[in-house]
Symmetry: D2
Subunit: 494 residues, 4 copies
């Protein structure tokens, strides 16, 4: 499995998707262009839509589009419609709310104290509950996005300053989020109390930047300063003299950070530094640990591209078995595979991957993948490798088995669709997949690969409920689901 | 001048535009198709966008599009996305609020008591004032349309029933409006206290219909029942047994109706019956009265098509001078003349009109037009007629001089751009236009043509402020304009 | 019936369509813009596609689009892609050949002597025969348009000069045509031996112009010079010093001109002068003659808009019965009514026309139409008039009955679909249509209205086979149809 | 450098592009779908346009589109417009001829003997010469594609059978080509006399398939049969009984095959077998030979993704230096980067690649690339690696220096833009690029990597003129360029 949108992902739903990436900059003359470039670097966090809001001192300007950053925001005319020295942007893969244009972020509201735009990566566990309260109180919700709930809370807050209103609003929300807000003079960044989703601070030409991953700093040559801390709100403000003040508000009682492990396993770009740790190195470590935990005699180590490649390099180095590109990936996957024909569906995985027979034939193959969700793709890949003449196929997965759904911004299948819940033994899973052997990295192996030490059961260092069932927050919407009257939500095409 | 969108209108702004037309039907299996046809018949009231919302018993469905009804709503796939036996629709020519998709009506809100969609023709004179109060109170305005203000007032009303909330909301608004609302079970129609904008009630197969003009009933073979009265709210509701109840609520103290005279002069379709009077007959009467008030010796009566045609027929019959098509209209005016080239601009009026030389040459021509706004088109038409060899050109205008702007849904140029305000004498205007003589119908002549009797100064029978300065309501937004902080309204493209 | 593309035309096929209009200009700096304006004036001759080819001294430039002139050629960017001081253009309603982009004219070919573009109004009666010969001889036909056949004949001609090649080519073709060609230095105009289709010559700023009708001269303020004569080829050439030479080549033995009567009855714009006769005056004369031939006692004369209006004015003046707009036309007919829903189809004629009840109710109505093809529209209009309360409905048609198909550029239904061939008596037709009486103008009445004298049976002054069966040329393709192997023609979408 | 369309390629033109890939199948009920899938697998050979022509026993059907296969041909509606059991398809990167829709292949012609469609990969060295002869002989060229020349030669051939006409036509052409043709009953494949471009034959369910590379067989599970030989024409024909005959015509005097070396270095997909040799293995061998020829002491071997990856794996294995992903590729490159803004241009290479600092910092890096064309991308990549903290940067290129342009279907920059022609010493090139050392694989090293033995100077085993200047055919167009009058070729947008 790997982290790029593709045909068989759409067909089988055998993948995880993350909701979003965010980027914001204050005080730079090329604000919108830099934001577009930053979003381009964060494109792996959301491919369905991208939006940018800028402020030019007088007016806010908004461009929001379905599709890739590179499809729209490289057009000079589009960038020209985003004047001003400050802007925030967002890339989206929809989890909550249909992906229609009015759901695309950043969202904007005209407040009594002036306009505010917000963009958000993550998910609220009390979003629906809050929405119902707001509607009962006379609010009009135009989108089906949870982010709009925050906007309403800001609008209704009685605090005079926009930053206090923002803080007031997010303190009413629960879940995992990294959020940016832009007012007429401020760029505000906030991270949830335990820091499930990443958010970093950088600077370019002395101007502050916030973004989901460091790769968005690298693309524009900006300097990494530090991570926004869990529970922290950082308020940057342009002063009348043009200088920028930075006001970091930390919670009085800070809880330990628990970054989402899946950022390391799968979501973040390999060249990003998340929580101070290089992602590629972490993944290679997963492969090294996997080679130690689950060795096998074989002729070649073959990654399932592109997600499994770093772990496969680690596995090969640790095991001494040669690393080879036994699966070739077709990069030209078209944009719109809605309703594929039955014929095309039947070709499944081959549209994206093909076996490299000269490398596979007659060999004992170790296939290294980053994770297994439903396992349907693995079945096809194993079959493809066997069809190419492999003598043996051994699957090594660089993360533990996934048992539990996520509610913090990762789009997971229903629990009963997860491979780990469908079979009671590793042997049964292996048979289903059709491999000669199947092994997963242990939870401690994963913790060591990322953080250097095994899982602290009393105080786990990371968010890991998909593997362990240990949810780090309340799940309010979920608890009250049975009572919720279905909204008569509008089906809209304009 | 006439009432179809055209090149030179866009170029010169020498025209009046009305905001909207509305149509709604309750309980008919072909609700959306009938609404599309009704809107097609009302297309002359707004050509920039059209929207329909239907309800299928479970969900509301919305289709909103820029462009003509016939461009989008004749597609079976579009109509199929509007299932249900009730729907309301709207055609729009934007006055207040940019014409962007999120401003296109009907607007929709999810309320605690269920969804509601509203569509509206007219304008509020306190829209901006109310909007500022709402924002101060924490409301989020997504569109720049005044109609959204009503939606917020409905959402915030404390009444338990949706119809009471609707009435509560419109009672807070001032101005001229005809409004439709649709809830899960109700179709509601309302007209402002003095009935500036028209709204009629009809029925088809026993199912109630409301629409701006009777021509929308005719197109679907529906029967006209009566006008919705000024100040009245009519609530039609589907009962559990499928029957429909009609509850007409009239104001306790009713004021006399004052329909907008411009509906007769220019806006309404000639075959419509507005306020019980056939529009074509009223216009022909204007021509007859004009012939009496401003006779001239001439060879041919030539209408400025198409608006001037009924009055020209009346003028010709009353004067005995032959009616001839001396100006030919080109019906093929393309859709998008944004940014015409300088070359094309120079050809101006000829893109739409051409003189019919064989009819004009050597003749004394009486040109009959419905109204004159800025006069720039008249200049070009007179020149065109002279170029075609006319011996004399006499302009007869079938309405009085326009001095004052409108605030009830008609888009008028700034007062100082109006021809009547640029010249102090009829002679000077005539010289500007280049005609041999120029005469306007008197205000009493117009009143007699429409209603049979002259203007009652104590109690005018119609809304006529553009001619007289007598505004029939307060102009709250206008009075407080100086105090209003400009909204930092978003410029949005998505 | 009338000559604007509309819904019920598409639905019922109850109309005639003409293939094309052409415009060309040589030596003017605004060539492409003037061509676009000229084509806009000729839009009534073809609404499905429009194309312009210009030459800038180095390269030919081509823009061809489906849709109206005003939809595309008012965009400065489009005109900017058509540089140069000479250009020819074309508007098309497809008769022969599907309407797909590669069939849109002007067509272009690279010849040994340089490029050539051609545009053509009319139809060849030996087009298919010639096409088969060319294919047998190794030619590759890219379009299904007959015009391409001419291009191949030009390419294969052995004459050294492009104008001689052009003449060589058209002398091999039979039928009715008005054709323009543009080479690197020349603008060439040609009309078929008996001049079935119109073509006029004008000038602007001393530069020659050719176009289908004079209205295309009027729109740009150009001066009419003369008609291109039947059988004539006019060759205008820019000389090295910038001067323009005009070489008019007339046939040695000239045959009398026989212009198509339907240009007067229906196709040409009322303000055009065709064959020296104003079209509006001719149509009004038809109405006057009709009033004399077929008088009736009635209360109002009502035109079927817009085609019947001039004749109705004539009928009213001659009969003394008042002319009234008893039918109102909806000008907002959407662009694309492909596959209308059954529901919309059922509303038929009402989408375009509506009865003006106040004028009709209780009256004896004379409905004046320009022509009747299949009669299906007439049935609906009579029903609509009756529904509006008419006491009597008398149809008067300002042209004779149509019995025979056309092969010279008018798209006619199959002969057995024509009303005149479906019923053996006028009474039966009248019953079918549902009128109280039905009368057609006589062929002599039509000849007198257009040319002043009755039909000369020995030497008819006009082309009139649709009324009389007297085809003015051989019909080669038709004669050999039975032998023709069907082409394996490509169905193409790109 | 690598073989996927990307931003910096477009910006700098620092890449080679190949013209085309072809696919054809005869007698299979899913012909069009299989062709679409085959073209998807060949997408790396051309990303600008894709077309398919099918034949359903009655008519040919054509769909041609700008863009990727996956953008258009996954739509069931598109495939449904391509009925029939035989079809040929084409993906295109334009070299000769602008990329406009009418140039997109397959091209089609109606012949006297029936229709024929052709699709072609390669380029003719006498295409312009032949085109001029055809035009002189009266042919009309609609496209600017050389393939149309073949179509004309087929149309003009006097042979009665379509296959003989096809052979007659290609025998008049010189250059490198692999060509497919489809008639009503036949699928024909041909390869140029020395087999510069690849073409293989396979079968699925007993039905013959021809395609550019074996990866197009793999994707649909088809079996590889053999390569079409150089100079061979294979004619497959459906017989009346449904059986398929295969008639392979080989040249009487066969010349040795000389496949284009760049297929191995860069164009072909790594999993394809070209000329009997696995491409991945050949590339890995290039890396192994490079490690032997140009060793260096270093800490990591880093591929320039994706083109340099196989050679980097080989280099790492042969040298014992660890292979690491030091450069991360961004797969989300938008579609349309025409006219990038100056700001975006300045970010250049970073839009596609980013350095993985954790791997690079403080290290001695061996960068392995597949080839260097202009070197401008290399400059940026070296800078990026240095910015990430590399201690030393050593470039190893897995192919020789490029000195000469190609005329057989590879789009090369002008010779004076090639890095090898701009500097006279390896040292100067290395300085320009900014590396610590720079080494290229020797021509013999390349020959050995691909074919196992060094270059046979008397009889080179491969086409290698870009490295050696040894062109394998005459270059007729090039020789006569000075005499050629420029065509007045049409600039067309419709």
């Amino acid at each position: 499995m790997n982290h790029f949108l593709s045909i068989e992902d759409d067909i089988d739903g055998d993948t995880l998707h993350e909701e979003c990436g965010v980027f914001g900059i204050l005080g730079h003359p090329d604000a919108a262009t830099l934001t577009a470039l930053g979003l381009h670097a964060l494109q792996h966090r959301g491919q369905e839509a991208a939006g940018i809001v800028s402020f030019d001192g007088q007016r806010f300007h908004s461009e929001r589009r379905m599709g890739l950053v590179g499809d729209h925001y490289t057009d000079p005319a589009t960038l020209a419609r985003l004047p001003g020295d400050r802007s925030i942007g967002h890339v989206r893969y929809s989890t909550t709310g249909e992906t229609i244009l009015r759901n695309v972020q950043p969202l904007f509201a005209e407040l009594e104290v002036g306009g505010i735009a917000i963009a958000h990566n993550g998910n609220f566990t009390n979003g629906l509950t809050m929405r119902r309260q707001l509607i009962a109180d006379g609010a009009i919700c135009q989108s089906t996005s949870d982010t709009e709930v925050v906007l309403h809370l800001i609008a209704r807050s009685k605090h005079p300053s926009s930053s206090d209103r923002f803080i007031d609003a997010i303190h009413q929300m629960e879940g995992g989020y990294s959020m940016l807000a832009m007012t007429r003079t401020k760029l505000i960044a906030a991270r949830d109390p335990i820091g499930i989703r990443p958010l970093v601070m950088g600077e370019l030409d002395g101007k502050p930047i916030f973004c989901s991953e460091t790769c968005a700093l690298d693309i524009i040559g900006a300097k990494y300063i530090r991570d926004v801390e869990n529970g922290e709100v950082v308020i940057c403000e342009i002063q009348p003299d043009g200088s920028i003040t930075v006001d970091a508000r930390k919670p009085e009682v800070s809880r330990p950070e628990r970054l989402c492990l899946f950022e390391y396993v799968y979501f973040a770009r390999p060249d990003s530094v998340v929580g101070g740790r290089n992602v590629y190195v972490a993944r290679k470590n997963m492969g090294i640990n996997l080679a130690k935990e689950a060795p096998i005699e074989a002729d070649v180590v073959v990654p399932v591209p592109d997600g499994g490649t770093p772990a496969a390099i680690g596995y090969a180095q640790a095991s001494g078995i040669p690393f080879e590109l036994g699966i070739i990936r077709n990069h030209y996957v078209g944009r719109t595979f809605i309703e594929p024909t039955q014929q095309i569906r039947a070709f499944g995985v081959k549209l994206k991957h093909s076996a490299n027979r000269a490398i596979i034939e007659g060999k004992r193959v170790v296939l290294v993948d980053d994770s297994i969700v439903r396992g349907t793709t693995s079945v096809k890949i194993v079959q493809m490798i066997r069809d190419a003449g492999a003598r043996e196929v051994h699957i090594r997965v660089a993360s533990p088995m996934i048992y539990h759904p996520d509610f913090y911004g990762i789009d997971t299948p229903d629990a009963d669709k997860l491979l780990a819940n469908q079979y009671t033994s590793l042997k049964a899973m292996c048979d289903f997949i059709g491999a000669d052997s199947l092994e997963f990295l242990s939870i401690d192996g994963l913790y060591r690969a990322v953080g250097g030490s095994p899982r602290d059961r009393a105080q786990p260092q990371f968010t890991d409920h998909y593997f362990t069932g240990d949810y780090p927050t309340r799940l309010l919407d979920r608890e009250s689901t049975s009572n919720v009257r279905k909204l008569s939500v509008l089906a809209s095409n304009g």
